[in-house]
């Protein structure tokens, strides 16, 4: 039987998605359901003087109106930060309370203060307009760079500082800088982004008074985690009385990791009113209240020798957490950022210092790449600048500082098991026709245009987060993954995975893996996920972990099935279990023609009284049935890497940046389905290029979101991109049996510095912040013209 792993198997999920048969949360309607509308703060920072619901309660169709007072009275817990971070001085991080409905203070535009529940959506909306809230408006803090100088947002949190964290050794770095021939320094901003999943957030909460059970259908990337948080911290219901279902989910990118206010409020309220409640975000609510991403202000320095050897690295960053610290809010700008900031280079001394600040803006949390795009942007912009200042070719300078052997002990934390960065660079250069650039630049110049080329070499830590590695960093919980492989008596297979697909194609790729492991046709394998009632536990999908962690759990569970199958076959065929081999779905007794198919074995396991055979096929000690579970906790992260090269052409008269060529050469380890990987790379690149050239979330001084709709927030479109030139090198991960690494975030990590390096190259080294909009580039072109004129 030909192996399915590695082939372009068509996506099993496409039929239902392309024919409109997907079942998203908003498609779910329950008998006698009500509709919720949230009353949200129009102010970025205010105290609530008075909240009056009398008029609204009299509005037609209103079932109930609940406020911060009721939720506090019922002792329903707030939203939490999942990872504890300690400051350099040893103190614990400072997190404010974040009640699901604000009672006394609101801290960003969109912070909910009440929920209106009515018989129809229109009635709920109308009543919500009648809720009277008397706010005392306070001065908002919105700037990342100045947050520490602003008014104190949360009582007791001085300078709005959550933590001041250090990774690395300042003294060693100082010594390295003292020895340097040259210090390259850079001031950069990693712009705030809004994830913009195609499906807005939604939830439907139901209460069954007979079983006293709450069922929450919600747009989540990790239903079990949501249940755990709502139960353990939210006090909504004990876990066995709370079922969380995340059906088809239309994109997450990190924005659907969090348990949100609406999930908790609707679940709690459904029990209170003993009816189902449906809430679906409008797009404008998504803009305001989905977690945002990035938002760093960084000063970084690189100490180098005159021949281009890197000696030391400093990274001083202020990270904006928004109004509250959420689930991955504190780990994203620390452990997901700092360790990767030295990039793919041997740098003897390094440190990263992060000051995480609160502001009156939407909470900032993990968004595709989470910390690693910020890290890669820092080091790769710095290295590119070093190449300009040292006059060393940008690819040569990188190669000079690549590790020469693997495992590569990276400066700050990670030990990278495998890779070949030189091979990746050489292949990328060839794919991009790096040599031919100068000729193309001259052609552009002849047309009055400016052409630039930019390079990025990156690595990332994926498959978050192995317990051993996480514990050694002294923080939080490890994130393993579970799988359960169940045979039916007639031989089809159901695989439960604790990871969650919201665009990642698990239904296909995981079935490919199971088909190869078990020798069962792929059409007889179903992948099940997204329902706390269907599997024991799962950590969900983010951080490119589904395959490298969840996929391995499936492999391990399949291996247990095969082991049992061997024992059963041996009993049935009167052989020694050690003499039974398994290949292509058949258990064969070696040196004989005796064999059983895995289907026959499954049948025997469930119906152990087979006609004509007067004895049970089950060996002593084995129970009936054929179902195995695996909880897999990897020994290390996986480390995809690669080199990307971009070429842009700029029209100096309009400032328009045209992305002419984009080459991505990635090492994802073993690839399960090249078509799915291409889709992931394309999507990641679109978001990464979007950050570099188009997307930007902007607040004004009073904390109003200026880019609150698609009229002003630029989502990139297909016509913004050239045909992507994609290729791979392959070194297998040595830390997992499949040799896989993860591919979901690479594009979003590598593209921003690649594109910006190209833009800045075209602009003769002038710094431009992301996104490189027409006006910024136009101004830089004017400066360039002036300085060229002076030089001439």
């Amino acid at each position: 039987m030909a192996s399915l792993v590695g082939s372009r198997v068509e996506r099993k999920e496409d039929k239902r998605f392309l024919t409109g048969k997907g079942r998203y949360t908003a498609d779910i309607n329950l008998a006698n359901q009500t509709y919720a509308i949230f009353v949200r703060s129009p102010h970025a920072r205010a105290s609530i003087k008075k909240l009056n619901i009398d008029k609204a309660l009299k509005s037609s169709g209103v079932v109930s109106i609940l406020t911060g007072k009721e939720i506090a009275d019922d002792k329903i817990g707030g939203l939490i930060a999942g990872w504890a971070i300690r400051s350099e001085d040893g103190t614990e991080m400072k997190c404010p309370g974040n009640p699901p409905l604000a009672k006394d203070n609101v801290n960003f535009v969109g912070d909910p203060v009440a929920v209106v529940i009515a018989e129809s959506l229109a009635e709920a909306k109308e009543a919500a307009e009648k809720v009277e809230v008397d706010y005392k408006v306070l001065k908002a803090v919105t700037s990342t760079a100045d947050a520490m100088n602003g008014d104190t947002i949360h009582e007791g949190i001085d300078k709005n500082l959550c933590f001041d964290w250090l990774l690395g050794d300042r003294q060693k770095v100082k010594e390295a800088f003292d020895k340097a021939d040259k210090v390259i320094s850079i001031d950069i901003i990693n712009n705030r982004l809004i994830p913009n999943a195609m499906e807005p957030r939604a939830c439907v909460a139901d209460y069954n008074a007979a079983s006293e059970e709450i069922t929450l259908y919600t747009t989540s990337q990790n239903p079990h985690l949501s249940r755990l948080i709502m139960s353990a911290f939210g006090n909504v219901a004990p876990e066995h009385k709370l079922r969380v279902v995340a059906p088809d989910v239309g994109g997450g990118f990190g924005s659907k990791i969090n348990v949100y206010n609406e999930d908790i409020v609707c679940s709690w309220a459904a029990k209170k009113i003993n009816r189902a409640i449906k809430w679906v975000a409008e797009r404008s609510e998504s803009f305001l209240t989905d977690i945002h991403g990035r938002d760093h202000v960084t000063h970084a320095e690189l100490a180098v020798t005159k021949d281009g050897k890197f000696l030391g690295f400093k990274n001083e960053t202020i990270a904006n957490l928004g109004a509250y610290a959420r689930v991955f809010g504190t780990v994203t700008p620390t452990y997901l950022f700092g360790p990767c900031a030295t990039g793919v280079y041997e740098i003897p001394a390094a440190y990263t210092n992060v000051k995480a600040v609160y502001t009156n803006t939407a909470p900032v949390d993990a968004y595709r790449g989470a910390g690693r795009p910020e890290a890669t942007y820092t080091i790769e912009r710095l290295v590119e600048k070093a190449s300009m200042e040292l006059g060393i070719d940008k690819t040569e300078l990188r190669i000079k500082n690549f590790p020469t052997a693997f495992p590569f002990k990276q400066t700050l934390v990670h030990t990278v098991d495998s890779g070949d960065y030189v091979a990746g660079m050489e292949k990328a250069k060839q794919m991009a026709d790096y040599k031919g650039f100068e000729a193309r630049r001259k052609e552009s110049e002849a047309k009055g245009k400016l052409r630039g080329i930019g390079v990025t070499s990156y690595f990332e830590a994926c498959g978050i987060a192995p317990s051993a590695a996480v514990m050694s960093l002294g923080c939080g919980v490890g994130l393993w993954e579970s799988a359960e492989v169940r045979f039916n008596p007639t031989g089809q297979v159901t695989v439960y995975t604790g990871s969650h697909s919201h665009g990642q194609s698990h239904q296909t790729t995981f079935a490919q893996i199971a088909a190869d492991e078990l020798g069962v046709p792929i059409e007889n394998i179903d992948i099940v996920h997204g329902d706390t009632d269907k599997g024991t536990f799962g950590m969900g999908t983010y951080g490119s972990r589904s395959l490298a962690v969840g996929g391995i759990a499936i492999v391990n569970a399949c291996k247990k099935i095969v082991e049992k199958g061997k024992r059963v076959t041996a009993k049935m065929l009167e052989a020694n279990p050690e003499d039974v081999e398994f290949k292509d779905g058949e258990f064969i007794v070696s040196k004989s023609n005796k064999k059983k198919t895995i289907g026959e074995v499954a049948f025997a396991c469930y119906l152990p009284g087979v006609r004509d055979e007067m004895k049970s096929p089950l060996p002593e000690g084995d129970e009936p049935g054929l179902k195995e579970t695996s909880f897999y906790d990897p020994s290390n992260f996986s480390f995809p890497a690669g080199t990307h090269i971009a070429e842009v052409e700029i029209d100096p008269e309009t400032g328009h940046v045209k992305l002419e060529k984009y080459t991505a050469c990635d090492d994802f380890g073993r690839i399960i389905n090249p078509m799915v990987v291409e889709g992931q790379v394309h999507g990641g690149l679109a978001q990464g290029i979007g950050q570099a050239l188009y997307e930007n979330a902007e607040y004004d001084e009073t904390g109003q979101l200026m880019t609150g709709s698609y009229m002003d927030y630029t989502m990139p479109r297909a016509d913004n991109f050239p045909e992507f030139n994609i290729g791979y090198t392959c070194t297998h991960a040595t830390t997992n049996p499949l040799g896989v690494k993860g591919c979901g975030e690479a594009g979003a990590i590598a593209a921003p510095p690649t594109v910006m390096n190209a833009v800045i190259d075209a602009l003769g080294g002038q710094e431009v912040t992301m996104p490189a909009t027409a006006e910024k580039v136009w101004k830089a072109c004017k400066n360039l013209k002036k300085s060229n004129a002076k030089a001439a």
Partner: protein, 261 residues
Amino acid sequence: MKDFNYHSAKDSKEASKLASSSSAFLAGGMTTIPSMKLGLATYKDLIDIKNIKKLSGIKVSGKSVTIGAATKHVEVSNSKDVKKAIPSLSSLAEGIGDPQVRNRGTIGGSIANNDPSADYPSACIALNATIHTNERKIEAAKFFKGMFETALKKGELIEAIEFQIPEKSSYQKHPNPASRYAIVGVYVAKHKGDVNVAVTGAKSCVYNDKEMSKALSGNFSSSSIDGMDLDSSEMNTDMHASAEFRASLVVTQAKKAVDAC
């Protein structure tokens, strides 16, 4: 969205009879419906004019192209007659919004709304259009009064727009990257005798740039406006473009348009 009464008029007469101070005509609804959904506008009555046959269609004579008010953008962009008579008008229509908008939005709706960054008003000015309403004929130069403001009276309905066929013309737009409305759009049309340079997006209302028109009427070459320093004091400033950048873009887009003629 608040409740409203929906009417479908069978002719212009019925439509204007139904009109009141709390009504709006509905053609493609590409601005009206979103405004209502966002609570920015409320109407008691919406009077649908899409079913009035007379208001749709394109007629070309030797001197002019006449387009019915309820004609959709996609019909203008796909029309062989328009492509032949005024190719720049066809390509303007092709660049409005996105496919969904072009398949619903209408030329009459766009002009009646007079969004300061809409594309069609610049075509009306550049192509010396005449706006035919159910009551009168209005020259384009007198039609566009200010931001979202036109010469239309309550209940007056645009029936058709008649464009003068120029010798040469081109429309060049620097789009807002998010909305794809014009940050600046410049429609240059060379008629027998004079040149119009209609600018949209730059100020609160579409206008004919007299300075550039004069220069190009003398010498129809991009060199005659190259480096022109336009007064930016009345130009719009927003997060996407400052007045200074807009002023520069007006000249750049005008040059591009002349070169493309």
